[in-house]
Amino acid sequence: MTEALHWIGGGLVVIGSLLTLFGAVGVLRFPDVYTRIHAASLTDTGGATLALLGLGLISGLTPETLKLAFIWAFVMLTTPAAANALANAAYGSGHKPRIGAFQIIPSDAPRETDPEDADRSSSQ
């Protein structure tokens, strides 16, 4: 029984880590900051849930399981909140979402540098 739980737990850890890996590829490949935030936060919470669940199955009912549950709770609370705050701040500072098929980059595509950096260096 524990042997089976170990295998299932290990499998869940692998699936969770694969999910984070896909998310990382998304963060690297997606065209603008909002899609990247989407990729990162979604797969981070999903991957964390799967991986921590897997570790919980491996450890069984021990004090460590409680710590895993706490880590899960913290990740589930902080990752979406941080993603929301980031997207909020990015939108507020003038990053426009890139709309449409992302292979076609319009000539008036958003500036690739942070507008705040630009006006900061000009003010000094």
């Binding site: 913290f74 609370l77 902080t78 979406p80 909140a81 929301n84 705050a85 909020n88 507020g92 950096d117 900061r120 260096s121 000094q124």
Partner: protein, 354 residues
């Protein structure tokens, strides 16, 4: 550890160290100081993970909370008061520093060849005083984390020195930047906009949990990884998070400037006071075996910690507890004071501009 785990840990070492090199190069390359701070925070996370793989849990803990957490926030506060990018430097001016760096690095690599193997039991660090600590902690101090026993008991005097250094660093920052904003802060608007409502709710849920976790690290540090330094920083980070989300004015209302600096002094006083009490009772400075006079020790119930038949070192037990409390007070309130100094100074600078 099995052979597979050893191989795995060697592979992890290589990958994490390569990551450190990559981040270091990126930090050296960027001219935007903010990017450099951000990358240094990631650098601290990686090096803490690497220390964890080397099984140095207490060091990794410190690196995570101080390197990735507190120092990043303090550096951001410093950037607020200066400029955000480094000037372009002529390459001729860089020749001499580069040469110096290469020579120093080469000497360090050469010196590292003479270091003992990792985990070598017969190396000087492990053979003499280190082995003594490991063998005697159980009978002399009690069932503590050996790291805690060494830091708080065997080398309590060193740790007192470190606590004083942190206190002095806080004082130094306060002397330059002030203890907080000089101008009276404008009250927050009546109606908080719902711009960052998710963040505010999440922060409200997190701050009590962070505080609770700080106390877990404080008291569990006797037995496991962590201790008063780390707990102090975590506690300060909870206050800083409150400041970041709800503003400096609200934070100062919750943790007054005067309270922060008084508590910092109180912590050092508590630590040194414990040492003096030991001297009064006839021992050496910070010799916790003399913390309680025999009459007081007789009054401690034998079953205070459960098993009455086990031999307890009450002096060591309570000495370490009080000393760690002193460190917690000093570290947490010093970091809060430094945060107040930087944040308050930036507000004063904005006021002066108007």
């Amino acid at each position: 550890m099995t052979g597979f785990a050893v191989e795995m840990s060697a592979a992890l070492n290589v990958v994490l160290l390569l990551m450190l090199v990559a981040i270091g190069l990126a930090v050296a390359h960027t001219r935007n100081l903010l990017t450099a701070i951000l990358l240094m925070s990631v650098y601290s996370l990686v090096s803490a993970a690497w220390l964890m793989v080397m099984d140095a849990a207490d060091v990794a803990f410190t690196e995570a909370v101080v390197g990735a957490g507190a120092s990043t926030i303090i550096l951001l506060g410093a950037i607020l008061l200066t400029r955000g990018a480094t000037a372009r430097v002529d390459w001729r001016a860089m020749v001499a520093p580069a040469l110096l760096a290469v020579i120093t690095g080469g000497l360090l690599i050469y010196a590292s060849l003479g270091l003992p193997e990792f985990g070598d039991p017969s190396s000087p660090a492990n053979a003499y005083v280190g082995r003594m600590y490991l063998e005697r902690t159980g009978e002399e101090v009690g069932p503590h984390n050996v790291v805690t026993a060494v830091l708080a008991s065997y080398r309590g005097f060193d740790t007192l020195g470190e606590t004083v250094v942190i206190f002095a660093a806080g004082l130094g920052v306060a002397l330059m930047l002030g203890f907080g904003p000089r101008a009276t802060l404008a009250p927050a608007p009546e109606k908080m906009g719902d711009h960052h409502v998710v963040l505010r709710v999440a922060a409200k849920m997190l701050i009590p949990l962070i505080t609770l976790y700080a106390f877990y690290v404080q008291f569990h540090g006797d037995l496991g990884a962590g201790g008063a330094f780390q707990a102090g920083v975590i506690l300060a980070v909870a206050v800083i998070l409150y400041g970041l989300v709800f503003g400096l004015r609200e934070t100062i209302a919750a943790v007054p400037v005067k309270a922060a600096r008084s508590v910092a002094a109180l912590g050092v006083m508590l630590y040194a006071g414990i040492g003096v009490i030991c001297m009064v009772n006839g021992g050496a400075f910070l010799d916790y075996d003399y913390l309680f006079s025999p009459q007081v020790e007789a009054m401690i119930p034998a079953n205070l910690l459960g098993d009455p038949h086990e031999e307890h070192h009450w002096g060591q037990h309570f000495g370490i507890l009080f000393v760690e409390l002193g460190v917690l007070l000093t570290v947490s309130s010093t970091i809060v004071t430094i945060f107040y100094g930087f944040a308050g100074r930036s507000i004063d600078a904005e006021e002066a501009k108007r």
